[in-house]
Symmetry: D2
Subunit: 354 residues, 4 copies
């Protein structure tokens, strides 16, 4: 088989074999629909064990749905949710927060650096809003862990934000589309990264890290879950054959598959970075703490890679020339080495041409 | 393997083997995410061929999402959607129409019989609403084909409704969660049942008839599709690994699988009805034109079947005692015969007891 | 001055002189805008005294806004509000409940008679909904007092509904667009008609009974008011020159103006009814307990009155021929006697023609 | 009468005598409710004459309602409305755009200077959004004329923005809460400032400039008005006694009252500025083109004025110390001179103290 050349997103990959196998295995026999099946019922205990506390877990089809539902819940009856200025829920969900909340939520970007919001800036902005009755009232903060900038919040950073939030009676949501990569990076337990740090509810991502079409919402603060079963149904995420989502999620957390996949993807991103770092003219845009790198490549290297069939996505304004290279659970060392070698060849040709 | 005893819903079944195989086959290799993959791109032509006209097709995860999106679109900028008084979109989606439209849509039940709205009553109600400026303005009609009462609208009945709608400038939506069963019953072409009869857009169901987690929206009136790509994304139904939905839908319509499955399920329902009809005291509630029967069973038969592990759902008010028995693509003759035989045994025991 | 001939609605009248005078008087001098003015601040105590309990009162511009805001609040986070099947909030506000709640509320009509919902039917419908997870969850009941059928709920009837509501944890809203007429009719105190009977929050109407453009929301359950200040502002009902609304409301409840106006209007409606009752062929549609009558007039009488310049509104289906004749605070005995005399003349002419 | 000391807002004033008189005059007699009265019907022609073109005009109670309704309409079916970064609709309406659109609209602030958005920045931002399918799709631009920074867009500046908008198929809304002040300043006709410059629809403010409680929406592009009558009703801004709003608006534009009032207020603001400019340490924050000034006062002057009973509002972050001093139609030369003299006394005392 030829090397992987599609580094556009973690989503270009199919499903992990363990998860596909679980899906196939769950097909046999009849079950009660709409989530009253054994696989879904098992999830409660399985996620409880994973997070070392009692939780309520609701499978949904996409991360956008998970974020939208969480945003609608934490902004109720209505209000503002503060997010980092590169947050997916603000920039990449086409107004999902407004939609899921029926116009009740507004997402407000908080400046920061390396994709992380600044707790001090959060405090300043929330306080200013609280002082003005004409402002959308602050209700919640949403932290993206790991971030869209390939960084992770340290536990101290999360706690600093939670402290700001708690003092102002804001709920704390964690957008964990890449939670596995963040947990793997931090070396902390899932509990430490979430409820022990003060997180109330979590968008638990699986699709980017080996599932087919399954993410979940995990409530640590179970009072917030009261309206979920209705909201999920009307939003079209109560799948009649729910077992097919639950089976994916169960396999995903079994035998640490989620962390093994994430560790591997993180490692591969590190390997890409280390490989490219040796090439003159390559400039990295921020750290690489999880499974992708942001990098500015000399034009001929970019041209050469594209000519070879490689595919990446762009980030930021076109003039910045930032490229995102994403590794997934199924990216191999050979894939990475081939990518780096190709880039080097393009660089050499470049220098030879000079 | 023991006989199927779960007749609660078509959704208790897993996936058809052809569809599961297609899902597994699509797993290999990388693709562009968010629907720019080959499987999704093929769908346009495949559905165009199926319906003998150019269409736009959008896979979504559930029928509730399909109905919600369609309702939001046809009610825009806002207004009323007239539905039959047993319509799923009104009764079973927890306010999905209001949700997807951001409070812009209201569903209004139109009386009728056998699960079908009356065209005359529709005309009367819409005209009354048009005469009153304080009413939610009528915008669309939504026809459920096949109905929640195991009936199908004849083409003439659909055309009568469409005529009422067109004369009042209403859009026409078809909720086809069980379209396959209706097409199979009618013996007409998919085109005849939809756009040739005046349907503008369609919720195309697959999950109830052999898919895992895939339905679709099909636009015959392609102008109505303009906002879809945004609406679907914000609603969390633009799956990043869309190919897994598209592969299901492609397999579903390949080699007439959808119609073969539906014909079989319809036939099995007929067989249940014929079998139960011979039992004294069994009363049917309306016709059985598609894949389920509505029936009132003498209490001892119900008790006996439940004691044997059978499972059904109830319909209507508890006092009516109506039971729904649903057959699926994978219900076998043996399953049906075993069900009927068990019911007869219970009936005999009953008579013996008298 | 010639007699009043416009009996179309209570809204055809201008403002009561006391209210207009208060409006003019409040014009002098500067005040803090957006409700921090003395007139608005006084309202809290004035309404507290009127209702013999601590309340929160919020002036708004229209009854539709009052109902919409109340519905949004009692349905939060979202759910169904049960109303009588002739309720203004369901039929006459163009989808106001859905709008104000951002798609979170659905109004569900409960059958009854004489414009009043049946407590037993309410219980049955709510229980049925609670038993079905796919239903919009019941959250509140909204009682119209006096009704659109010129009736009032007795205190016992209100309490019966409240009992059903409380047992199912529903909030109780009173739509009091014609509260004054109902209180005048019942001869009870405002407290007895509202919070003492279990009402949580009230749309307090003034415009139909002598104000220019002012209604209010009164919270007996003050926890429900928490989101009001934000909701009212975003809904465009936080008037910058709020004093002009507050001055109307203050004058309205001063020296029992509201009850005097209502008693008079009720009396005039009674006088119309008594006068028309003597005319052969005149059929009343239900009782006349407040300030309007519903009546079927022989066609020649209707024609004659219209020819004379009289104006009424129609109710129900055109085939029913029901006419509404509304008296207002400024309808005089002479106006009524002239109306009745004209009708009699038309009737005589009719009989003479036979 | 003592001098006016409340410079907090234009809204602290009552109504202009001409407008109050018109309100009182309209009280006599009965009219058809809900806007079918003569005063409201006259408005169409009166506004048509004012703007020298056929328009549709809809009175509403507040500017927030006008902006909310306009935003909902121009964003339909849904999308982004670009506004200046100090726009009232974004910052001061508590999420009104999201509310009125049912979650369909997002307002996006565009940087600029002196309260005006930059056409170049607008083009850049809209183009970036159009290039990303995950973004809320751009639908409209909303220009505030005059601005929250006491400036006005020149006609050339408006046209530059319109050009950017038209090239990208965006609607153009004008928030004219202070349109009168802007027109007075520009010395152009109302037509030139609006539709001749490419404006599709207008929030026409009156309350800040002499009305009690009336603003209006004016449609130049009358196709956009199609859903207005429904939207206004459900939003609670179809006043039953509409004549009381229409009478205000009619008086407002009669005999150039609106421009006379605005010219006077602008002039008084100029007089305040000129007066304060002579005081050492006073720093102006931007130009004073309409009826208020933004200024940083030495602390003792601020303290002294407050001690004398003066009242202003603050703008920007507390650390900036910016004060807004607003003149209204009823601010007199004497009021201004007294204010300036008092400030000077405080300044002298200050210097004396040093």
């Amino acid at each position: 088989m030829s090397a992987k050349k599609n580094f556009y997103s973690d989503n270009v990959s199919g499903a992990a074999p363990e998860i596909l196998a679980a899906l196939v295995a769950t097909n046999a026999g009849d079950t009660t629909p709409y989530g009253a099946d054994p696989a879904t019922e098992r999830l409660q205990a399985r996620f409880g064990a994973l997070f070392e506390t009692e939780v309520e877990v609701f499978p949904v089809g996409t991360g956008t749905a998970a974020n939208g539902l969480c945003t609608a819940i934490v902004s109720a009856p209505y209000g503002a949710v503060y997010v980092s200025d590169s947050a997916h829920v603000h920039d990449n969900e086409c107004g999902g927060a407004e939609f899921w909340s029926g116009g009740n939520a507004r997402t407000i970007p908080v400046p920061g650096s390396d994709g992380k919001m600044s707790a001090a800036e959060l405090a300043r902005m929330v306080d200013a809003a609280l002082a003005r009755p004409a402002e959308v009232p602050p209700r919640a903060v949403s932290i993206t862990q790991g971030t869209e900038a390939s960084t992770v919040y340290t536990l101290a950073e999360v706690r600093a934000i939670v402290e700001v939030a708690r003092a102002r009676r804001l709920w704390v949501h964690l957008d964990g589309a890449r939670l596995a990569n963040a947990v793997a990076r931090l070396g902390s337990t899932p509990a430490e990264v979430t409820w022990k740090a003060g997180v109330d509810l979590l968008s638990f991502g699986a699709t980017k890290n080996g599932a087919l079409t399954a993410d979940a919402i995990v409530f640590f603060n179970r009072e917030l879950a009261q309206s979920m079963r209705y909201r999920r149904r009307r939003g079209g995420h109560l799948f009649s054959k729910m077992r097919f989502l639950s089976a994916q999620l169960e396999a995903y957390i079994t035998d640490d598959l989620w962390l093994r996949n994430a560790r591997h993807a993180n490692l591969m991103a590190r390997r890409v970075r280390d490989g490219l770092a040796a090439i003159p003219g390559v400039r990295f845009h921020g750290p690489t703490e999880i499974n992708f790198i942001l990098v500015v490549l000399p034009q001929p290297i970019w041209d050469g890679l594209v000519a070879e069939g490689y595919s990446f996505s762009r980030r930021g304004a076109p003039s910045e020339g930032i490229i995102r290279i994403v590794c997934a659970f199924d990216t191999t060392k050979e894939d990475v080495d081939e990518l780096v070698a190709t880039a080097k060849r393009c660089a050499t040709a470049l220098n030879a041409n000079v």
